[in-house]
């Protein structure tokens, strides 16, 4: 079979797929082909087991009890923080803040960092390829505070022009926030270079890593990122939990965002003294089992090997790109040189939603629409795209199934 020919990266797919129970599910009588990993990823058995084990055996609140269960779970939760720290190669565990997800992490920065470091008349720089979650918190902040939101345009290929970035990073720019990997285009932005450009002008950088962490090794110290966010659910962990990495020097200087139980040293009605990082940013009882499940997910990825995952997915992407490009009238949206395994496309004369509906009837789960990147859709002049987004458990055979199903959909629609 053609699909075997270029498959050289070493992943034991049949073993890996056994770890994901949901992949055995039938949809409309057909085995599910899950290609909507950009929206959320599936969870391996160890993650599911960890969640069940938590409720079967460990459930208790953290950071407050002197009893055995509370101590045990506090240790487990803090160990999960260390796992995330190591995964990102952060300098300290205190630089890892548990949040609800990427959106929550960005909102935290937009509401807290801004209080200390941004003033009316300043500028915040983002890019045209951002997810709404990395647009709206800034737009709202800017509108309310007399700050300007400046946007780096994308090129037709779906890349950022470094010269544009350089000229838009101005004397008034107080933060540059961009996505590491575009959820719509798949573009891998040259994060290290972009950060260096900003740092050359003393401008701190926030990276939306929601779509990067599931696909590649990220080293926040090597990147020299000031802030880095991601969501557990997109990287094989539980929903409702995410991470904000921040350099300690910034976090220490930032005021708490949400406050309440867990964030304090002492409270009186006259004066409250807040705790140190990370606790001052973690108000209320957190998603304890979520944090623990995230650590299990990261361990799972590391056991396979992030380099192996990236190499395999690159082959999968190349194969899918080649097969899809051969379809008449199909146009791939996002043709950057460096891409993660995300493929957005439109087909001449057909509505993405019709295509998605007919793929769904054939057991193939893709996403259609604007993918929470409406400004990008406007730029490409399309109402939406069909997006197939892959994970390391997807196979070459599944790409073949997608292509066959697409041919059938096109035939039915034309």
């Amino acid at each position: 079979m053609e699909s075997q020919a270029i498959h050289t990266a070493t992943l034991d797919l049949s073993k890996i797929r056994e770890d994901f129970p949901i992949l055995l599910r039938k949809v409309g009588g057909k085995t599910l082909v899950y290609l909507d990993n950009g929206a959320t990823s599936q969870k391996p058995k160890p993650v599911i087991d960890a969640l069940v084990h938590y409720y079967d055996f460990q459930n208790s609140n953290i950071h407050r009890g002197i009893h055995k269960l509370s101590q045990e779970i506090t240790i487990a939760y803090e160990k999960a923080r260390e796992t995330v720290q190591k995964h990102l190669n952060a300098a300290k565990a205190e630089e890892i803040i548990f949040t609800k997800g990427t959106t929550d992490s960005i909102c935290l920065i937009a509401n807290s960092f801004s209080k200390t470091f941004i003033k009316p008349g300043d500028e915040i720089l983002i890019t045209e390829m951002e997810h709404h979650s990395n647009i709206l918190p800034w737009q709202m902040y800017c509108e309310e505070n007399g700050v300007s939101l400046v946007v780096v345009p994308v090129t037709p290929e779906g890349e950022l022009n470094l010269q544009d970035v350089k000229s838009l990073l101005g004397p008034k720019t107080k933060l540059f926030a961009f996505t590491h990997v575009s959820n719509t285009l798949g573009t891998i932005n040259p994060a290290k270079e972009l950060i260096a450009l900003a740092h050359a002008k003393n401008i701190p950088v926030l990276i939306d890593g929601a779509q990067a962490i599931p696909h590649m090794k990220v080293d926040v110290q090597d990147l020299d990122a000031d802030f880095y966010c991601f969501s557990a659910h997109k990287t094989f962990g539980p929903t409702g939990v995410g991470i904000l990495y921040g350099k300690e020097k910034w976090l220490n200087a930032m005021p708490p965002y949400q406050v309440g139980g867990g964030t304090i040293k002492t409270v009186s009605f006259k004066k409250t003294v807040y705790a140190e990082v990370p606790l001052k940013f973690e108000a209320g009882t957190p998603h304890i089992e979520g944090g623990i499940g995230l650590a299990v997910a990261l361990d799972y990825m590391n056991a396979i090997g992030l380099d192996h995952i990236a190499a395999y997915e690159q082959e999968l992407l190349a194969y899918a790109t080649k097969k899809l490009s051969a379809i008449d009238g199909l146009r791939i949206i996002g043709t950057a040189k460096e891409k993660a395994a995300v493929l957005s496309f439109v087909i001449e004369g057909l509505h993405p939603m019709d295509i998605g509906t007919l793929l769904d009837q054939q057991g193939i789960a893709v996403r259609t629409g604007h993918h929470c990147t409406q400004p990008l859709m406007d730029y490409y002049g399309v109402p939406g795209t069909v997006r197939a987004s892959f994970a390391f458990y997807n196979t070459f055979e599944e790409v073949d199934k997608l292509v066959d199903a697409l041919y059938k959909a096109i035939k039915m629609l034309t």
Binding site: D354, T357, L358, Q361, H370
Partner: protein
């Protein structure tokens, strides 16, 4: 034919397809393609019912006490379902339209298209059809 009778007619039509999704969707697509295009003058933004993904336009007018609908969509499957709705509801009195239960969609196995999360504008279209009926019944 009453609204209920047209619904039954459609249910009978679709029952021929059984579990064959392909035949069912091909039929819908055919309906979508054959639906007379709405006059561009009515395809204005104030007649646009915005789903998150596909757009639906609805035009209604009262003639001899009956409400006539014309509709269109930029997605062909949505348009097919729109076509079924128009076939069922168009040409009836506002009171009849307001009272229509429209259970046929469920019975022909297309209920998922009417889920509020589907983002195709169909739920809003049905609401708009009934609102138009209400508006005309109040006027007269």
């Amino acid at each position: 034919m009453t609204i209920y009778e047209t619904e039954q007619e459609i249910i009978d039509e679709f029952s021929l397809f059984g579990d064959d999704w392909e035949m069912k969707y091909e039929h819908l697509i055919d309906i979508g393609k054959s639906l007379p295009l709405i006059d561009p003058q009515y395809k204005t933004d104030d007649r646009l019912i915005k789903g998150c993904q596909s757009k639906v336009w609805l035009h209604s007018e009262l003639k001899d006490g009956n409400l006539l609908f014309r509709a269109d969509s930029d997605a062909i499957i949505t348009k097919g379902i729109v076509g079924l709705m128009v076939r069922v509801l168009s040409g009836h009195t506002p009171a009849e339209i307001m009272g229509a239960k429209l259970e046929f969609i469920d019975q022909i196995g297309l209920k998922e298209h009417l889920s509020p999360t589907r983002a195709n504008g169909l739920v809003s279209m049905i609401k708009q059809m009934k609102l138009d009926a209400l508006a005309y019944s109040v006027k007269n």
